[in-house]
Symmetry: D3
Subunit: 68 residues, 6 copies
C-alpha cells in the first residue's frame, strides 16, 4: 500500500502505553521521539511491540509550524 500522507518517518517503537480504548505509541525516529495516539485495536492489529521497526505517518494538513 502507498499512501498520500506526505510524512512517513521511519524509526523504532520505544514505548507502548495502552489505556482503556486509546494507546500511546512512542517511535524514536532518530534523535526525536514521536508520540502517536491510536486505538488499542490498532496496536494489536499491527502486532506492535517495543524494539520493532515502525513509521510515524502524518498527513501534511495536520502539521503546524512554530518559530521562537
Amino acid at each position: 500500500m502507498k499512501i498520500s500522507a506526505r510524512n512517513v518517518l521511519k524509526g523504532k517503537v520505544v514505548d507502548i502505553a495502552k489505556g482503556a480504548t486509546t494507546a500511546h505509541v512512542r517511535i524514536d525516529i532518530g534523535g526525536a521521539i514521536v508520540t502517536a495516539s491510536i486505538t488499542n485495536e490498532s496496536v494489536d492489529d499491527l502486532g506492535l511491540v517495543k524494539g520493532m521497526t515502525a513509521s510515524a505517518v502524518i498527513k501534511s494538513s495536520d502539521v503546524m509550524v512554530a518559530v521562537e
Copy 2:
C-alpha cells in the same frame, strides 16, 4: 507559549510553496523532511523564509503508525 501537542520537531525550513490560499512548507528535521500544509497567512505572520529555524508541531492524535 507552551503547547499540549506532544510532537515538536525542530529543524530548518528548506522550501516554501505558496498556492492561492494554502502553502506547503518543508522542514528538514535532521535526516527527514516534514511537509506542513498551512495558510499563506501563517507563512507571512511567522515571517517564514528558507534557511530559518522552525519546528513542525503535530498533535499525537494526528499521528498514525505503519509497519511493513
Copy 3:
C-alpha cells in the same frame, strides 16, 4: 505497508480536481462518494487517474457521528 488507521474504504477514483497546491479527489466506495483533500504532489506521486482503484483512508479520531 500496514497502517493503524481503522478506516480503509476501497473504491474507484471518479474525479480529480487540482488547485494551486491542494487537490480534491473523489472516490466512489460503492453507493457513497468520499472526497479527499490532498496535496497535488500526492496525486502525482500515487499516479492517480480517473477509473483507478484506490482507497479512502481515515483515522478513527477524525470521524464524527451525526444523528437526525
Copy 4:
C-alpha cells in the same frame, strides 16, 4: 443543521465500546464498517445505541488516499 464536511456516510450503529473518556463507535455504511473515536459524552448526548441510524461525518482534509 447543515455542515461543511464533505463526507456524510449514512448507516447503522453496530457497536459502541466506551473507554474511560473515549468511545469507539462502529457504523455499518453498507458493505464497509467505519470506526469513529468520539467522547463518551457525545455517545450519551446523541443517545447512541446499537441498531440506530447514524452517519459517519468526515472533513475532506482528514481523508487520505491509498493505492496498492
Copy 5:
C-alpha cells in the same frame, strides 16, 4: 442533524476568501475570530455570505491547549 463534535461556536461570517480549491471563512464568535479552512464547494453548498449567522464546528480531538 445533531453532531458528536463537542464544539459548536455560533457567530457571524465576517470574511470569505476563496482560493483555487480551498476557501478561508472567518467567523466572529463574539470577541474572537475563528478561521475555518474548507472547500470552495462547501462555501457554495452552504450558501455562505458575509453577515450570515454560522457556527464554527470543531471535534475536541482537534483542540490543543496552550499556556504562557
Copy 6:
C-alpha cells in the same frame, strides 16, 4: 513560541477530566466553553489546573462551518 495555527482562543480552564490515557479539558473562552481532548501527559506537562488562564489552539483546517 509562535505557532501557525490561526485560532488561539484565550480563556480559563473550568474542568479537567482525566481518563486512562486521554483527558478532556474545558476552557471558558468568554460565553462559550471549548472542550479539548489531549493526553494526560500534556495536562501534567503544562501543569493545568482549574481556574488557570489557558488558550484553546485550533488549526484552521480542523474547523468546519455549519448553518441552520
